[in-house]
Amino acid sequence: MTAADHLPQRAKFLTAGDTALVVEFGDRVDEHLSALVLALARRVEAAAIAGVVETVPTFRSLMVHYDPLAVSNAELQARIKPLLSKLAGTVSAGRHWRLPACYDPKLGLDLAEVAERTGLSEAEVVARHSTAPFRVYMVGFLPGFAYLGGLPAALELPRRENPRLKVEAGSIAIAMAMSVIYSIDSPGGWNVLARTPVALWDLRRAPAALVSAGDRVSFAPISLAEYEELAGKARAGELRMTPHTQDA
């Protein structure tokens, strides 16, 4: 078996019908797996394989959507296999977004409950969440909706037993080992800790989604008054965020 025949890092192909192929690296939420997925996404994009329509990086796999009239499942596997060779799973620093976040209980609806369930004080919950270095593992579910890995273990909780019919756009919430940011109003069952005035999804921007898989995110606590002021600017399209770029 040559190196090129060998799928590194236990990657495997899964068939998702005749228009999508999954390249799966594992079944966990893990920074290393996420880095492999993003590295493969970049390689597939650069390879410009005829028939590939778009790719969707997720926590632990890359979904490749394709046109079956242009490329078959077997041909696509053969084209992707060499791209898995010596795939670098190094975690690049990417862009770093420092997003203002208001943890006031008026917006952080579940702060008190999370404090009670974790045995921490509300101030400790805010301190741990706002100092955590998060990484975007996936943008999905809704336009611009961001899944962040890197939640401190002390904050790990199941989802709420009774999901809300409406969680406001900008809500920052936690469940399991993750934090999420709701991009548009949506039903949801995550525990809401805070809200950011920054629009995660805004069609007046290109791209409309603020963050991409691989970006780093941290939260800067702000008061309710500061939130209101920034939210007003955001509605007017005048709140422009720029990410920091750093080397690893």
């Binding site: 019908g17 005749d18 959507h65 499942n73 996936m138 809704l142 336009p143």
Partner: protein, 349 residues
């Protein structure tokens, strides 16, 4: 004055759809597009549009529309629906609008599409003049994008037309279009068939399911035997393909359709093949669904066959002779009448 179709009544769910918003799923943006792209393409063909032009997707109860243009050419394809045409008094010709036919309507003509089972597409020659959002005019109500202001059409809306009058092309009809559901819908197992018991895999293909009224453009919710998970029903979210059959904790399958979310965290037992998705999109609550497992090669062959059939649609378009004002030719074809007297022909006015 700008040409438009004006909505006097909205219907149950009338949205603009084309073939979808491709290339933005990594930003979490669903593809959307027509539930039945075959009927959409055929409707466009009848009015001389490229097949992917945005048209009205009309579900279950149609709208009432008034033509506010010098003239407009329309065509309806899809589930058979009662279509009433109230012609404006000053119209030139007796006119009607029927399924699988193009028809030129005049200013003031009113169309009323009644209650029916399924979806149909109403295409307008030249298309509708709304802006594309991220490359598509498909309406995604959940995100408020596409179509007219990102929402379903409602009473009082003016939906702008690209053309202010119809071309003087001959009217045409589609000689035949097979829209009946297949005896079974073909699926490919996976990507998470290993999350189910052998009994669940057997049930999927040996029993039938019923489409429930909770179905929508995002997913078709099925009722029937519960499919048992073998190792829980929470997986780490991964990508979702068109036609994915996902099975949440209650064991009842949901087939994900045009407005499907881009990623999801329930195990996916199988995926409906792309050639069978348009027929699936035409099903209505109460319909029976059976699944049959096939391999990837059969799925790919089926898709090629469907593409060939679509390519041949243009050859099945036949002209309706100009003299045959009330589609006399077709009535004669069907041997329904032995001859017709044109009531207006002898009218000196």
């Amino acid at each position: 004055m700008n040409a438009a179709l004006c909505f006097l009544a909205s219907g149950l769910l009338t949205t603009l759809q084309d073939l979808g918003r491709v290339g933005y799923q990594h930003q979490g943006i669903p593809v959307s597009g027509a539930l039945d792209p075959v009927s959409l393409s055929a409707a466009n063909l009848l009015v001389g549009n490229p097949p992917a032009t945005a048209a009205l997707e009309i579900a279950y109860q149609g709208p009432t529309l008034v033509v506010e243009a010098d003239s407009v050419r329309l065509a309806c394809v899809g589930a058979a629906a009662p279509i009433e045409l109230l012609a404006a008094a000053e119209g030139e010709h007796p006119r009607r609008l029927e399924m699988l036919h193009s028809a030129r309507l005049e200013r003031g003509d009113q169309i009323r599409i009644g209650a029916f089972a399924g979806v149909l597409y109403l295409a307008a020659e030249g298309g509708f003049d709304v802006p594309a959002v991220l490359g598509s005019r498909s309406t995604l109500v959940r995100a408020g994008i596409g179509g007219l202001n990102g929402r379903p059409l409602r009473a009082g809306d003016r939906l702008p037309l690209c053309r202010s009058q119809a071309t003087d092309a001959d009217e045409v009809r589609l000689a035949a279009l097979e829209l009946a559901p297949p005896a079974s819908f073909r699926v490919i197992l996976g990507p998470q068939d290993d999350y189910f018991t052998p009994a669940a895999l057997g049930l999927l293909t040996q029993t039938s399911y019923t489409v429930t009224p909770a179905s929508d453009r995002m997913g078709m919710r099925l009722a029937g035997p519960r499919l048992e998970h073998s190792k829980g029903y929470n997986i780490v979210s991964d990508g979702i393909a068109p036609g994915t059959v996902q099975v949440p904790g209650n064991g009842l399958p949901i087939v994900l359709l045009a407005d499907r979310q881009t990623t999801g965290g329930y195990p996916k037992i199988a995926t409906v093949i792309s050639a069978d998705l348009p027929a699936l999109g035409r099903l209505t609550p109460g319909a029976t669904v059976r699944f049959r497992i096939v391999g990837i090669e059969e799925a790919e062959a089926a898709r090629r066959e469907q593409a060939a059939l679509l390519a041949q649609l243009a050859q099945r378009i036949v002209a309706v002779p100009r003299g045959a004002r009330i589609d006399e030719a077709q009535l004669l074809d069907a041997n329904l009448v032995s001859g017709m007297i044109d009531a207006l022909a002898g009218d000196p006015a």
